[in-house]
């Protein structure tokens, strides 16, 4: 059933159907471009214009008044000397890299486990994807409570006789960042799983049968058939996780607010604080521009690395 649904899924159509006229379409069949205008207006007003203007303001000392004077690279110089900004840059990269690696790997394991013939597979798929439905602000609040000293996590650990592992989960500046990462993995691992499940169901049955006939065991079949053909799923899963985790805001905002000290400060968090709490619009925009450049660079890098590993079935 799921296989059929996946095959009917839009991304999975293998051969695009050509327009019946083929070649160049005549004037009767070329859609007039005014159909594009409403989308362009919304997109221009909400995304294009504000982004361009934000990029401009990052080179000014704008504080919200009418006057904003051009200050060149001053904001960026200040950023390098700003301890909180440097820490947030480091944390943002650490979060993005750890989340992408761990969440993608766990998602793959879950997908492999739930792509087998176990009876509970449909129920388990539904359950493991369920937290994805919840607002990040709510899962953040929930985990804040889970991590409370003497709270649910500590209680479970001491029941299991592991109370030595108890930590000040969100209060210790060496641990808080990892605690947040753990909660985000819990929240989003279903997303990676679902992408890999779609990828697994795309692999033609015949390939496994051919490999089996050639005497390949289960491990060999995974390594030589499944692994290479999951390349595209890996590209999508890692790209989505990477871009989402670079912009991570809600969970950090509600769980620690960036503390203790600057240990969980992220770029999107200090951007918010500088702009909307302290009114330093120019400086806040400069932080956002740095974030944009990191996202663009990492997406480019990551696409060109993982794309190489892609094979078509």
């Amino acid at each position: 059933m799921t296989v059929e649904l996946a095959r009917r899924g839009i991304g999975l159509r293998r051969s695009p159907v050509r327009g019946s006229t083929g070649g160049r379409r005549g004037r009767l069949h070329l859609v007039p471009q005014w159909f594009l205008i409403p989308a362009l207006i919304f997109y221009g007003v909400v995304v294009l214009y504000p982004s361009i203007s934000g990029a401009y303001y990052s080179f000014t000392d704008w504080k919200g008044g009418a006057a904003a004077s051009w200050t060149g690279l001053e904001n960026f110089q200040r950023l390098i000397e700003d301890e909180a900004a440097v820490a947030s840059l480091r944390n943002t990269l650490l979060i993005a890299i750890t989340l992408t690696l761990v969440q993608t790997f766990l998602g793959l394991l879950l997908a492999l486990a739930l792509n087998t013939a176990i009876r509970s597979r449909n129920l388990l798929r539904t359950l493991f994807f369920a937290p994805m439905m919840l607002p990040p602000i709510i899962t953040g609040l929930l985990w804040q409570y889970i991590y409370v000293p003497g709270g649910p996590l500590d209680t479970v650990l001491s029941t299991l006789g592991l109370s030595g592992l108890s930590q000040s989960w969100l209060g210790d500046s060496d641990i808080a960042l990892w605690s947040i990462i753990g909660s985000v993995i819990w929240h989003h691992v279903g997303m990676s799983m679902v992408i890999y499940l779609a990828g697994l169901q795309r692999i033609p049955e015949e390939l496994y049968e051919a490999a089996a006939l050639d005497g390949a065991g289960a491990v060999r079949r995974f390594w030589s058939v499944t692994r290479p053909l999951l390349g595209q799923a890996t590209t999508i899963a890692t790209a989505l996780t990477m871009t989402a985790s670079l912009k991570l805001f809600d969970q950090v905002f509600v769980m620690t607010g960036g503390g203790p000290g600057v240990s969980t400060q992220t770029l999107s968090l200090i951007m918010y604080k500088e702009a909307f709490v302290y009114g330093n619009y120019g400086y806040g925009s400069a932080i956002a521009l740095i974030l944009t450049m990191i996202v663009a660079f990492i997406v480019y890098l990551q696409m060109s690395v993982t794309r190489r590993g892609e094979v078509e079935a």
Binding site: A39, I118, R125, M133
Partner: protein
């Protein structure tokens, strides 16, 4: 495939009539999977993993039925009785009914507009001149790369200058615009795989462009419209930062903002906070459990490039 004898065709599965409720795909998968004796082991191994995974959700629900005193002494045990006072207090104190109505209004209007405007744009790009369709799509895809933070301040100022802050309209405009990249991408991707025969027939029969779009193209887009609605609606419903900036402190605030400010007011009354969280989480979870196959397919298949 009939006639080939694979090692996986065990006497148990070959030639036996299918059990009711099983599809050919199920049978194929059953054969593909590793030897059967491994399955009970895996099934068994998934139990502790699933229990651990669901533990936080259990905590959320269990705490919402406890009195403050009870929470002070036990954080993991099930509630002693069903103390529902938390729900009543949360509902009235945080005005969650109003917040839920706001969330529904904003989500429904944003998604409807995004579907209309996005499908029109997808139609124009996929069925316009081939030479320019690539650059036009790229212009929209750029939006997937630009973090919202970059335009956050100028957009906030623009909304303020237009006098739209604190209104539903400000958020609806924001969502329609920021949903365009993914929406247009999905519609163009889908239309490129569809034949244009019906549209051309309609044109030859004298239908106007609008009639062709509304009567022929839009109905054809139904499968991808489902994906667009599901993925966009969940992201919109759960969004937090922009509604916080635009609507905080007004009666127009959405559910996530209401729960957040409620948490600020009753900082240590976890029972109340959890009741508020359950109320906010429930509508979307109910919809999810009814539409789970579509939701999972939408997220898994719809987002591919």
């Amino acid at each position: 495939m009939s006639g080939t004898l694979s090692r996986h065709d065990t006497p148990a599965t070959r030639g036996r009539p299918r059990r009711p409720g099983r599809t050919a795909a199920d049978d194929r998968r059953a054969r593909r999977s590793r030897p059967r004796y491994g399955m009970p082991l895996l099934e068994f191994a998934m139990i502790p993993i699933t229990v651990a995974y669901l533990f936080p959700l259990y905590v959320m629900v269990a705490m919402s039925f406890k009195t403050t005193a009870e929470i002070g002494t036990s954080t993991v045990a099930p509630p002693e009785g069903l103390y529902t006072e938390n729900y009543a207090t949360a509902w009235t104190e945080a005005d969650l009914g109003r917040a839920m109505a706001n969330s529904v209004i904003i989500t429904v209007l944003s998604i409807s507009l995004a579907v209309l405007v996005g499908s029109m744009a997808g139609y124009a790009i996929a069925r316009g001149a081939r030479r320019t369709s690539g650059p036009k799509l790229m212009l929209f895809l750029l939006g997937l790369m630009i973090p919202g933070q970059l335009g956050m301040v100028p957009l906030y100022m623009l909304m303020r200058d237009l006098g739209l802050l604190q209104s539903h309209a400000s958020l609806i405009i924001f969502y329609v615009g920021s949903l365009m990249p993914l929406t247009v991408f999905l519609y163009v991707g889908f239309l490129k795989t569809q034949s244009s025969t019906y549209e051309e027939a309609a044109r030859i029969d004298g239908a106007s462009w609008w009639q062709t779009y509304a009567r022929v193209v839009f109905p054809l887009l139904r499968p991808v419209t489902g994906t667009v609605i599901i993925v966009n609606a969940i992201n919109t419903w759960n969004d937090f930062l922009t509604p916080l900036l635009y609507l905080a402190g007004t009666p127009n605030r959405t559910l996530p903002v209401a729960v957040f400010s409620f948490q600020g007011e009753f900082a240590s009354e976890w029972g109340l906070i959890f009741a508020g969280m359950v109320i906010a989480a429930l509508p979307i979870l109910v919809v999810y459990f009814f539409l789970q196959r579509h939701v999972i397919r939408g997220f898994g298949g719809g987002l591919k490039g």
